[in-house]
């Protein structure tokens, strides 16, 4: 039986707090990885994950089992990360550093002068072949960690935490145009990294 169905209030068999703590702890490493990618600060990442787990524990009655525990925790983590960013922004701002990462010229080498691909993307084969492999997910994580810091932060906010673009712009005080450039850059880099480190291996395509 899936874990969450045992929590279904309709069944009246909600787990006690200690079982729930064990379950939450299983997701701790994942939450830390996401928080670390976003905040780029081990201590701050520890803090938000701790807060997330505490909040989850005290809100466990509210967990309906409609989503997985991991998805539910990701939702809580999202709010804690936004809080952490807000607090940080009251301190001296780092916004200027975004400028370095919003320069589109960096991608010119990917395209010829007429805008055509310098080296067109390879055929990645059946997506399911990659997606079902744990090693592929590890390669993806490595590729995320290799992104420039602010680029990774924005990408995680958008794609992992699923924040709306308006919210990201507001929290990071960047323009919508900057945001698109950063996300474009993140996707292009990620694509190249996956192609080089996974799909170029004939065994993987």
């Amino acid at each position: 039986m899936p874990y969450y169905s045992r929590l279904d209030p309709a069944e009246g068999t909600a787990l006690d707090a200690s079982d729930f703590t064990v379950e939450l702890d299983r997701h701790r490493r994942y939450l830390l990885r996401v928080a670390q990618l976003q905040l780029r600060d081990a201590a701050a990442a520890e803090d938000v994950v701790q807060e997330t787990l505490v909040a989850a524990l005290s809100a466990r009655e509210g967990f309906t089992g409609r989503s997985s525990v991991k998805t539910w925790l990701t939702g809580i983590l999202k709010h804690k990360i936004v809080d952490a960013i807000r607090q940080k922004q009251r301190q001296p701002v780092v916004a200027a550093s975004f400028d370095e990462e919003t320069d589109l010229d960096d991608f010119d080498p990917l395209f010829k002068d007429n805008g055509a691909w310098q080296a067109p993307p390879a055929d990645w084969g059946d997506p399911e072949n990659a997606l079902s492999r744990q090693e592929f997910m590890s390669v993806m994580e490595m590729c995320l960690e290799r992104l420039p810091p602010n680029t990774a932060r924005v990408f995680v906010m958008r794609e992992v935490l699923e924040l709306e673009t308006e919210e990201i712009c507001k929290e990071l005080t960047i323009t919508a145009n900057n945001l698109w450039v950063i996300l474009y850059r993140a996707r292009m880099s990620l694509r190249e990294c996956l192609e080089r480190n996974w799909f170029s291996d004939p065994a993987h395509a």
């Binding site: 997985s68 991991k70 998805t71 990701t74 991608f107 990917l110 395209f111 007429n114 805008g115 055509a116 691909w117 067109p120 993307p121 390879a122 055929d123 990645w124 997506p127 990659a130 997606l131 592929f136 997910m137 993806m140 994580e141 958008r158 794609e159 992992v160 673009t165 919508a176 945001l179 698109w180 996300l183 474009y184 996707r187 292009m188 990620l190 694509r191 996956l194």
Partner: protein, 63 residues
């Protein structure tokens, strides 16, 4: 003639539009230009499927 229709945007521009399409709704004219380009361009069609795969991979990372 056909080439002119399908290459109103370059590959560079098409990749930018494909990325933006994940974050906001493109304008009518952008969507038409992009669709025409994808009809003729194998490389950008691949790129489009690769974007979808990356999105799917991230969503599995999350769940």
């Amino acid at each position: 003639m056909l080439h002119r229709l399908t290459h109103m945007v370059s590959c560079k521009e098409a990749t930018r539009l494909l990325s933006q399409a994940e974050d906001h709704r493109l304008s009518h004219i952008e969507r038409i230009k992009l669709r025409l380009h994808l009809l003729a361009c194998v490389a950008c069609s691949r790129f489009s499927r690769q974007l979808a795969l990356m999105r799917e991979a991230v969503s599995r990372f999350r769940t």
